[in-house]
């Protein structure tokens, strides 16, 4: 089955991104396809490279990056949500005159159209959030 995933909450504050990660990992290990994970609202904070949680806690952003590398999963951060919340790749940082890129490896910033496309292309779109 082709799954599309929508993550609407930030890491640590809410279990949504943990549940999404475990769901995606399990689905891929079972041989399903995950067309894309789209991060919206505070969900975009899952993709910050500036997160340094305590070492005895789960490393949420790193987990996503490793999953993207292992299974070639497309991790997309919504550009409009990122702009409100201070998430920038090189292009966005240059466009807005900001100094840094804080998008972690395996993530990319793109538009909301990618969410709609995911809904069209997936057999099931599964939302994680409140």
């Amino acid at each position: 089955m082709k799954f599309g995933i929508l993550v609407n909450e930030g890491p640590y504050q809410h279990q949504a991104s943990d549940s999404a990660y475990l769901f995606v990992k399990a689905a891929l290990e079972k041989g399903h396809e995950v067309t894309r994970v789209f991060f919206y609202h505070d969900g975009v904070y899952n993709g910050t490279s500036y997160s340094v949680p305590p070492l005895d806690d789960r490393q949420i952003t790193k987990q996503w990056s490793e999953l993207a590398k292992e299974y070639d999963v497309d991790l997309v951060l919504c550009v409009a949500a990122c702009q409100r919340r201070g998430m920038m790749d090189d292009g966005e940082a240059e466009r807005h005159g900001k100094g840094a890129n804080n998008v972690a490896e395996g993530f990319r910033i793109s538009g909301l159209g990618q969410l709609i496309e995911t809904g069209i292309q997936s057999d099931r779109l599964v939302t994680f959030g409140d």
Binding site: Y40, H41, A80, G113, I120
Partner: protein, 141 residues
């Protein structure tokens, strides 16, 4: 899973609005998705349940809270061919609201000489469940 037409798949998308407009950002960012989605020529419906019904209350004034009143944007949905807005009756009842408290959202029906028609339909909880059952994709905010 949807119909094939004009070189692409058309699916039934339901945007399920469950939260009031200003306490959290969900309502505003949901509306932003709806406006982007309009460009994809999908079969789009909006539903308002629970505190989501407050999103389309008429006479909203946000001056006192320093936030932008985005409720006028709902008036533009008809121009984007988004004219199926379902509001759950029980959610209105539970909050002491009636249809008269809602914005008079309308669209122009191109199949009926551009007659102006209401976009809002009040449905009960069972009908809302049927509506959800009928969708391909539900985006719940």
């Amino acid at each position: 899973m949807g119909d094939m037409s004009e070189g692409g798949t058309t699916k039934k998308f339901l945007y399920l609005n469950r939260k009031a407009s200003y306490g959290t950002v969900y309502a505003l960012e949901s509306l932003e998705v709806v406006l982007i989605a309009a460009a994809f020529e999908q079969d789009v419906s909006l539903a308002f349940i629970d505190d989501g019904v407050y999103q389309i209350i008429k006479g909203q004034d946000t001056k006192g809270i320093g936030m932008k009143n985005f409720s006028p944007t709902f008036n533009a949905l008809g121009d984007y061919d988004i004219n199926k807005l379902y509001v759950e009756k029980e959610s209105l009842d539970e909050r002491g609201l009636t249809e008269d408290d809602l914005m008079p959202l309308v669209y122009e029906d191109e199949d009926d000489d551009w007659a102006e028609k209401p976009s809002i339909k009040i449905v009960n909880r069972a009908e809302m469940a049927d509506l959800m059952q009928d969708q391909d994709v539900i985006l719940s905010f």
